[in-house]
Symmetry: C2
Amino acid sequence: MKKTISQATIDRLPLYFRTLRLVEAENMDIISSDELGRRLDITPEQIRKDLATFGQFGRKGIGYDVRELRDRIGNILGLHNKWRLAIVGVGHLGGALANYVNFAPLGFSVVALFDNDKEIVGSEVNGLEVNDASSMEKIIAERSVDIGVITVPASEAQGVVDSLIAAGIKGIWNFAPIKLNVPIDIPLVNEDLSVGLSALSYHMSQD
Amino acid sequence: MKKTISQATIDRLPLYFRTLRLVEAENMDIISSDELGRRLDITPEQIRKDLATFGQFGRKGIGYDVRELRDRIGNILGLHNKWRLAIVGVGHLGGALANYVNFAPLGFSVVALFDNDKEIVGSEVNGLEVNDASSMEKIIAERSVDIGVITVPASEAQGVVDSLIAAGIKGIWNFAPIKLNVPIDIPLVNEDLSVGLSALSYHMSQD
């Protein structure tokens, strides 16, 4: 069943989830919409409206139970699925993602690495061997990979995505600066590090 | 003078800018709000409303001049400022950012690298020497660094930010998973790679 949550609310869920995890690490059990709003720079009214979408949470004048709310949002985000990732393109960015420690607590694990550079194939990154891109289809099936992470140059990205989809991947996380064509039933999220930096530039340019 | 552009519109500007750059690379001179909308998954009405905020662009039934619109949005984003970055923490992620090729076309340049690990200090990353964190204040002044990029562990992030601000930095781009305290006049953008991945998880969890 598809939930009727607005796209704007969905976009904010990962931010709520991230903040609740930070709050939990600070040993806070209860958080008010005011405090959540202060940390996220979102109005408390917006937060109460977003969270009301999933049912009754929190108590008036007290606040939200941090762990309960985090679990509920985590479930809505599908984080209980324990997604398995393959990184294609083990250059600087792919290598950094293979070593990124903040995925594991969310239930994501990197289970395969691929490259077509003979100097990189066979090496180990964070305890995982880099496989030749030609073995992608076989290994993705064997290791039940769910998500393909695209960290190859833009010119190679569409070819890699076509192979991943042929191999049965369920979602694509793309770092290549190019518009990819994927079937409508394969979710695609484009990541561009220059977007955050541009937003910072904007704020620094205001008097 | 502060422009009265809504936060939601500002958040979309880097996406418009990124898409216009891709479109330009495809040698398109004119783009319609329909086509921009299709590429960004934003309604054409929303796009026309956002762009109307900055004055009259585009011609009814024809579309927007790609280069003109890209330049105009780039100026609003302050990208003409040619910001100078220092990366603090040259681990996997910091190293990947030092090598990231997509910043330069936007006018960002990495001019300094810092770490406190003796094994890393003195090494070269993308042609730039890694300096000892103890020399941060001096080098940031010498090289007129504008933006501090925080890629140290969460436990060290606040201390690094305090030093950067004392050294006269004008903005902070933070990758450490922690809420940082900065003076109100120093813009701060928090980056969390797990946010995009969580959004992908959400879409993959829908039937």
